[in-house]
Symmetry: C2
Subunit: 220 residues, 2 copies
């Protein structure tokens, strides 16, 4: 089962892209470059080829229906299958406004579907079908490391990323790994950037042995 690396950045030569390619190389992973493939982050009625209720779009209900009937639009079906069949998800993107860029957020909105990533009604949240998946968020930031430390003006990485780490990854039962942040990615020198790539690559070489921060079922 190949790991899945999902990249969201509009510039192919961005440092986020470099981190994603390093991750994909080290892991021998499938790389989804959402901008390159023209992924549309807008959840719409077009996600569903067979509506349970054609009169009124209720996304959670239609996702569940589409899982049960195999009726997602082809692009969503492909991404859902990639998510379902991986054991390691690495999402790589810049910090924009203390959170995911719209592209990455839309990948979550459209692909973390009810009936697969969680089950409503059914499973309790923070357990679920994706408890075999380890999830790693990789961000570039224009902020310095100190700004994420106590007293810094951003806040801790974990508190800023609460909606992603807790409200998304852990919500689906995933095992949440410590996020990797390339601080001040735009302003550091080449040597520091090379160090970031090396640090990420080194970490991923032994990611199987890494204890998650939280979430998921205890792994065997």
């Amino acid at each position: 089962v190949p790991p899945l690396v999902v990249l969201s950045h509009p510039e192919p030569t961005s440092f986020a892209a470099a981190l994603a390619h390093t991750a994909a190389d080290v892991l021998d992973a499938q790389l989804l470059d959402l901008y390159a493939e023209g992924f549309d982050p807008r959840l719409t009625a077009a996600d569903f080829t067979d509506r349970e209720d054609a009169a009124r779009l209720r996304p959670m209900e239609e996702q569940l229906h589409a899982v049960r009937t195999g009726s997602f639009a082809p692009d969503i079906a492909r991404h859902v299958e990639l998510l379902r069949s991986t054991d390691l998800l690495v999402m790589v993107q810049p910090f924009w406004w203390f959170s995911l860029p719209a592209m990455a957020k839309g990948w979550v909105d459209r692909v973390f579907v009810n009936g697969l990533a969680y089950e409503y009604p059914g499973h309790e949240p923070w357990t679920g079908p994706l408890d075999h998946v380890r999830a790693l968020a990789v961000f570039t930031s224009s902020y310095e490391r100190e700004e994420f430390e106590p007293g810094g003006r951003v806040g801790s990485v974990e508190s800023v990323l609460y909606p992603l780490l807790w409200g998304t990854f852990a919500y689906c039962g995933m095992q949440v790994l410590e996020p990797f942040v390339a601080y001040a990615a735009d302003s550091v020198d080449e040597e520091t950037r090379a160090g970031y790539l090396e640090a990420l690559g080194g970490r991923l070489e032994s990611v199987e042995a890494e204890a998650p921060l939280f979430g998921g079922q205890p792994s065997g």
Copy 2:
């Protein structure tokens, strides 16, 4: 100066849409229905008609250049002007994954531009050109109110919305009003829903007098 109501929901008959229309009616506001107008939440090179650096897209730098040279693509120029010229911004959307839907997040990514919503380099964050703007987030949620209370499994509205309230609105110097949440919007009865619309409308009738939670300059 008309208030600005920005709606992000794919279903025109959603309760989020009802809240947005109520807000727009009470405030006599401009309503931007992002799905209806086909807004694209993806920040790309197409936002900029005159690149400072055509070889490599660095969004913050190009936004600043576009503000200075008046060279945004027409759709962005229009939205930036609406944001710049309002004193009250109301963003209405469902809670998806403890945060904004991609559509709303992309409106922030593309329209809260460097050189207008903030100035980097230049102004310190949490001050800035939009300190005359009051910002109100209005969400529908499938969760019950108790789940946002202490001990509830979501977390407080303010902590969940930290990236939007603090990292976006307050970052730009805006005065952040207490968010309005229609809890369990899908499952409550019609009377409760009517109560939500009435509560939002009533609140907006006297929004000028409301003390912000935080952010902004003390108003005159």
